[in-house]
């Protein structure tokens, strides 16, 4: 048994010392002057990239540079919905690659990320919704990805709190169900990848901000930070809402705009909500955490902002819809509200791959829905950095698609923020 693995024996051993001697899950390191690869941004995607670089490609001289604390960005602010029922073959391949990594991730990382495949149900409230959802179901099933249609009664059987009264403000005409979908514990995903990467020698550098990308001509040299220059021949920028800012220092302009996206949680209650429910039409999505809180996601503000606040009218609209769908929650109190800054692309698909600057790679534009992709994104981005060419699954998602016009329009799949 490897030292430091989490196990029942370790639990017993540490119980004897009152749980005061657990080693830190990842070490605090002094930044070196140079690394083979620098990952900018210690969210789930950046940490996963570093882990897979070390674990699968033998690239261990890697630093993850995070300006705040790891997982403090959108990774720790999202509503953790995981699914792969997108519309286009390129996206289905990308998101399903991630979905297939989730079930065994706790084992792989030796960290309980609490993945729960409790099923994601997407509601149809009118004929248009119904057609769109059914089109997704067919597209998914043609590619062997599970997704099926439920009648209103079946939807209610799957999620008893749902109001299916035909006279309801938002009548439920049916739903699409992806049973392999679900949720996971967001913090644990960041911590689990950080711990596993640290054990393979990756440096997790928290509290260090990248101020600029250094380049000479069309070649990248390293990053300037508030702790000095760190040299690297390969740099992966994985900073979500700050992509335009960080890559702007290298002279790049991106097809991305940053918007606040809000979520809220209720007071904890006993298990009452067995699955995840989303409604694109009324812009609401909801699940129950293992702590018992209802986790509710709202929409984005309509204007570019880095304020991490979000307008009150956005959550008001969202909660009105939630209560129409689930009247039993009318008397629940809300405990917390927050926003993350999401990086939205014109076609609602991410941007992964090289940039016009050699050695500089981008993984961004996951917008309102990238948590679900965390393992897959890291896995494929690590491959891309290791081979210095895009992995076939991410190749269609390059920055060049905006010039070629080959957009991957997922605005129907991602119309709601999730």
């Amino acid at each position: 048994m490897r030292r430091g693995r989490y196990s029942f024996a370790a639990l017993v051993r540490h119980a004897l010392s009152g749980h005061r001697r657990w080693p830190p899950a990842w070490r605090r390191r002094e930044p070196k002057r140079a690394y083979d690869v620098v990952i900018v941004g210690g969210g789930g995607h950046g940490l996963a990239t570093a882990y897979y670089l070390a674990a699968e490609h033998g690239v261990r001289d890697v630093a993850v540079v995070e300006k705040g604390w790891i997982g403090g960005g959108n990774t720790g602010r999202n509503t953790t919905i995981i699914r792969s029922n997108y519309l286009h073959p390129e996206s289905i391949a990308l998101y399903d690659h991630a979905l297939r990594l989730w079930p065994t991730l706790s084992l792989e990382l030796d960290f309980n990320i609490m993945f729960s495949d409790r099923g994601v149900m997407m509601l149809a409230h009118d004929l248009h919704d119904e057609r769109i959802l059914k089109r997704h179901i067919h597209a998914n099933r043609l590619l062997g990805v599970d997704n099926r249609w439920l009648s209103p009664a079946e939807a209610k059987a799957f999620c008893p709190p749902l109001n299916i009264d035909p006279r309801a403000r938002y009548p439920v005409l049916g739903a699409a169900l992806q049973e392999r979908g679900g949720v996971a514990r967001h913090d644990a995903v960041a911590w689990g990848y950080a711990r596993a990467a640290d054990r393979l020698g990756v440096h997790i550098l928290e509290g260090i901000e990248v101020k600029a990308i250094r380049r000479r001509g069309d070649r990248v040299l390293g990053v300037e930070t508030d702790r000095g220059v760190i040299a690297a021949g390969r740099i992966g920028v994985v900073v979500a809402g700050h992509s335009s800012v960080v890559l702007g220092t290298a002279g790049l302009r991106l097809p991305i705009e940053s918007f606040p996206l809000q979520a809220l949680v209720s007071e904890p209650v006993k298990p009452v909500f067995p699955c995840v429910v989303m409604s694109n039409r009324v812009h609401a999505y909801i699940s129950q955490s293992d702590k018992g809180e209802l986790v509710i996601g709202a929409g984005t503000d309509q204007y570019v902002s880095y304020s991490q606040r979000g307008g009150i009218q956005v959550i008001r609209h969202n909660l009105e819809a939630i209560l129409e769908l689930f009247p039993i929650f009318a008397r629940l109190r809300l405990m917390r509200q927050w926003a993350g800054i999401v990086d939205v692309t014109p076609d609602r698909s991410p941007i992964i791959g090289p940039t016009p600057i050699r050695g500089l790679y981008v993984n961004a534009g996951w917008g309102t829905g990238g948590f679900k992709a965390t393992p897959g994104s890291g896995h494929l981005f690590a491959w891309t950095l290791a081979h210095e060419e895009p992995h076939p699954i991410v190749a269609p998602f390059g920055l060049d698609r905006f010039e070629s016009g080959r957009l991957i329009d997922e605005s129907a799949a991602a119309a709601v923020a999730h």
């Binding site: 335009s244 302009r253 097809p255 204007y303 570019v304 880095y306 606040r309 307008g311």
Partner: protein
């Protein structure tokens, strides 16, 4: 929620408005002749600044006119408002921070 000073109606709550995104985006004069890169830049690339943003707003539930707002994207403070009929000024003034 923002309070937006419509240059025609005065300050009103954000719910009366629709945001039209970044201002000062000019269509290339001769699309047939401009490079793919210039066309891409016009169609898709955005400044998305962490700082002062010049953006278009539409008073859809009011006078239904368009105008331009300069807003700081960290504090969301509105720094200036102008009638969009005027030619766009390059942003040079307001403090960045």
């Amino acid at each position: 929620m923002l309070e937006i000073p419509c240059p025609f109606c005065g300050p009103r709550p954000e719910v009366e408005f629709r945001c039209g995104g970044e201002a000062d985006i000019r269509r290339p004069a001769d699309p047939d002749r401009c490079s793919d890169r210039a066309w891409t830049d016009y169609l898709w690339n955005r400044t998305n600044p962490k700082g002062v943003h010049r953006e278009r707003w539409w008073h859809v539930h009011g006078c239904r006119r368009w105008f331009v707002v300069s807003r700081h994207t960290v504090s969301d403070t509105i720094l200036a408002v102008s009638d969009s009929g005027q030619t766009a000024q390059p942003q040079e003034t307001a403090a960045d921070g």
